[in-house]
Structures are given as structure tokens and as C-alpha cells.
Amino acid sequence: MKAWKWFEGSRVGRSVFRVGIPRSNLERAQAMVSSFLLHVQPAKVNRRTLRPATTLGLGLISLYLLGILTVTGILLMFYYVPATDRAYDAMKDLQYVVSAGLVIRNMHRWAAHLMVLFVMLHLCRVFYTGAYKRPREFNWLVGIALFLLTLGLSFTGYLLPWDQLAFWAITVGANIAAYAPVVGPELKFLILGGNSVGQEALIRFYTLHVIVLPALMAFMVSVHLWRVRKDGGLARPEEGADRLERIDVEHLPTNKSYGLMELTRSTSLQVGKNPEDEVFSWPHLVFREMLLLLAVIAVVLFLAVFWNAPLEEVANAIHPPNPAKAPWYFLGLQELVSYSAFWGGVVAPAVLVTALVMLPYLDRQAVGAGRWFARERRLANTVFTIFLIIAVVLTVIGSVFRGPNWGWVKPWAQPPAVTEGH
């Protein structure tokens, strides 16, 4: 502690930390503004922001998982070789030869699954709190791009181990794309860089997975967080941004020079905010965020230490496993595809994404933003919940109730003897 105090006061220490550990309110504000990492957030936040129930921290958890994925992913890149004759061996090396390789691979895999899950949960949170309403429509769109990028990253990463699971999941996934109207077959050819999953597909997925999609993701996440700030922080119930809508311009006090400025949405003016509700971000917000980060790392580490990421036999183009399943987040789609490839594989996802994109422009009434399950939004909430239940049920069916030949199995019964097709 003494050494730190000395360092903080030294020339070097001050040049790095400027404010040091804040001791006054002024310094608390300065700490937020003068640090690159912290200035993304305002110096003061609404009390509601700190309440776990406001966001359940789901967006933040997604962000942390993305961070874990970036770090572990870069480490994996030091050993991984995107060649069909070496990729699988590289995975085996990571598991059995490289120091800490097993845990790092496990962390990467479990964090990836968790991220898909938490991004979905975050999407649901934003929906059920009506947080996509004006002025946050655009950030909802950015969010959908992030959702699709998350799926894209998971999907491209899935192929890289080049085991049976990877090979056939990608074969099945790419063939779902081939059902797209007009350009389907060409699209599949472009994705795979050929007619079947092979070396060309592997290098394509690798390039997408390690640079193209992460770069897009980094950019979009920056836009996303910047927008949260620009939209005036988290959505709050009526007394916040919504009140602006209801101000009758004619009744604005004209004797005040800032009368019109009150209408701006800029974050510099504390419009519609009650100063009593505001607390300093440092330490209240930052502390909670760091605590959550620790918790996320702890959970991922825990999973990674006790459960190994699956690695099946090396990819074999002649013997598909029975059943061949896509990654879990596509199993709802695959279940639909098993009834009708076109309706399930093309129409359903297209309609779903279109509906999500149009949502904030269709549902324009301002009430209910910032509150969970607002009564005024009963219709919207019901419709969304029905779709959600359908999606969950389909995914659960595809994941655990489908066995060999895509036939029904009871997951609690003895696993049936798998009969190979050959």
C-alpha cells in the first residue's frame, strides 16, 4: 500500500494514472473522464443502472465473454494450423501436449457457447424492457447485427477442429444455405469455396473466424456501446427520455435561454434527470462491473477445468455420424428443416430476422420503455413470448429428443445402439 502511494505520487505514476485513486467527488468525476477505458461511461449514472434487475448485466456478460474469447482465441492461434491434414492433430496437441492448452481450448469453447446464450438472453431483456424504443431503434439494429455476427463467429469456429462433429455440422449448415431462393447453390459454393467441405472451406472459415468477423464485431460493439451513451444511458421509465415526447412546445418557458435546448437528447445536458438519482460511476458502477467480470471469468474457468470440450474422431467424409446435428443454436432450424427444408431453412430465419429488424419501427408507442413486462405492452410481450417458446421447444427437441435417423428418442432412456448406415 505504501509502495503504491509512493508510485501514484511519483512523476511516472501521475503521468499514467493522472487522478490516482479518487478521494473527492471532483476526482471521482475526473477519474472517469481522464481514463481511456473508463471514459466510455459517464461520470455519473442513474441509480437504476446499478440495480441488477435493470439489465441483469446480460450485455456486459456478453462483452466479457467476447473478451475471454479474444484472449483465448489468440492463444489458440499460436498452435492451430488451418490445413485439413494438420488441424485435427493441432487440436490433439492442444489437449495433450501444450501446457495449459486443454484449459485454454475448453475456455474458448465454453465461452463461445455461453456468449451465444447470453447474447440471446440480452436480446430478450432488451425486448421485455421495451428498451429498443425511441431513441434506441438504431442500437437495436446494431444489436441484431451483433447477434448475427455472434452466430457467424460460432459457426465458423465450429469447423476448425476438423473432427466428425465439425465436419458434418458444417456440411449440414452449408446445405441449409443452399436452399436459399435463386442464389442458394451459388451461395453454398461461395461459402465452401468448392462443392464440398474440404481444404478451401477450412481456410475460408478460418479467415472469417480469426479476422473478418472479429474485426466487424469489434467495430459494431464499439458503435453499440457508444450508442448506449449517446441515447442517454439505459432506457428508463417515463420520467426520462419519454417525457420529452410529451412536452408541449408551446408551453415551454420562453424566458429561459435553454428552453429549446431542453429538447435535445444530448448527454451533456442533464435533461429529465433528477440529480438526486445520480450517483458517481466511480466507484459504484465500476466496482460492480469489475465484480461481474471476476464472476464471469470464474464461471468460465470452472467449466473449463471440470468439463472438456468435445473432440470426436477425425473428419470422415464417407461416414456421417447418425444423427448429424448442427450446432445447438441451429438445432431449432434443423428440426424445422427436417419437415421442410425450404420453409424451415430459408423462410423461417428470413422472416424472423426481418421481424426483428422492423420491430422498433412497427412498435412505435413510447410507453413501457425501461420497465420489465410493462402492462401496456401485453400484446407485444405475448407475441414475442410465443415465438420464444416455439424456438426453445424446437431447439430442445432437436438437441435431446432426436436420435439416430432423426427419430424420436427419450433422453432419459438408455441411449439406443447406433446403427451405422454402412
Binding site: 456440411t171 449440414v172 446445405n175 464440398s196 435417423n405 448406415g421
Partner: protein, 157 residues
């Protein structure tokens, strides 16, 4: 300083033309470069097994046999002096089908096909494909997977 003139017709027309030219050039450049980038991603050379390949000598396939060729993922079907080639790629989601009592069976999601490749059950939307078989100059069976034919089309030797 002369007072600012309101833009006359001719100057606003000029700026419109300038804008139009500027934007057209930009749009053209953008279209051309994205077109080139997409075209770049469509491979011209494939290192996978050729879609046109020699399957072997006619006599390699006994009468009445259905032979699976692993690398090409096809069956060569011989009946008497007729030869045909059936795709082993399931029309559902691209798994490799195998032989069954009925004809063919896909292990992935349980589609089944009869001897003619017609769908008999499961999620497959279309029949298995038949490919053109011809005889090469050195009397090998020559299969062309680019060319799809009816199930009734045989190579008769």
C-alpha cells in the same frame, strides 16, 4: 467584398451536374470493386476430386452390382450391359447415403430412397441424382457430375 449573390440557375445546374458526376463515379467505383472482390472469392481452380472422372473399366463392375466409390461419393449401378451412376449425396442436407434393403438410406436424418433414387421416406425433398455416364476413348466409364440425367438413361455396352 461583393455581396453574396443568390445562386443563379446556371450555378445550381452546374453544381447538380458536378454532384451527379461525382456520385456516379463513386458508385461505379464501389460497384466495380465489390464486384471484383466477390468474383475474387469464387475459385477458378478446385483441388477437390474432379466432377468429371473415370470410374474404372466396365468389367470392374459385376453384373447386378451397386458399387460405392468413396472419393467421388457415387454408386455405379450395373444391370446386364447397362451402366448408370447414382449420387450418394443426400438431397436433404448433403450427408452420404448407404445401401439398405429398400435401396438407399441416409444416416443423418433418416431419409430413405428406392433403387431408382426416389424418396421413400424422411425429410429429403428430391430424388437422388443420376449422372451422365459415357465411355472414354480408352474404354473406361466416364462420369460427368455436371450433367444430370433421368433415372431411365443408361449407357449400353
Amino acid at each position: 467584398m461583393t455581396p453574396q449573390q443568390p445562386p443563379s440557375d446556371s450555378t445550381s445546374r452546374r453544381s447538380f451536374v458536378q454532384l451527379a458526376i461525382g456520385w456516379s463515379v463513386a458508385a461505379l467505383a464501389a460497384a466495380a470493386s465489390s464486384g471484383a472482390a466477390v468474383r475474387f472469392l469464387v475459385p477458378n481452380v478446385l483441388y477437390e476430386p474432379s466432377l468429371r472422372f473415370k470410374a474404372g473399366k466396365p468389367d470392374d463392375f459385376p453384373d447386378g452390382s451397386v458399387t460405392f466409390l468413396e472419393d467421388e461419393r457415387v454408386f455405379i449401378v450395373r444391370q446386364g450391359n447397362t451402366y448408370r451412376c447414382l449420387s450418394a449425396v443426400c438431397t436433404h442436407l448433403g450427408c452420404t447415403v448407404g445401401r439398405s434393403e429398400l435401396g438407399f438410406h441416409c444416416p443423418c436424418h433418416g431419409s430413405s430412397f428406392d433403387e431408382q433414387g426416389k424418396v421413400k421416406g424422411g425429410p429429403a425433398p428430391r430424388a437422388l441424382e443420376w449422372f451422365m455416364v459415357t465411355l472414354s476413348k480408352d474404354r473406361h466409364l466416364l462420369v460427368d457430375k455436371n450433367e444430370r440425367v433421368d433415372a431411365e438413361k443408361y449407357l449400353v455396352l
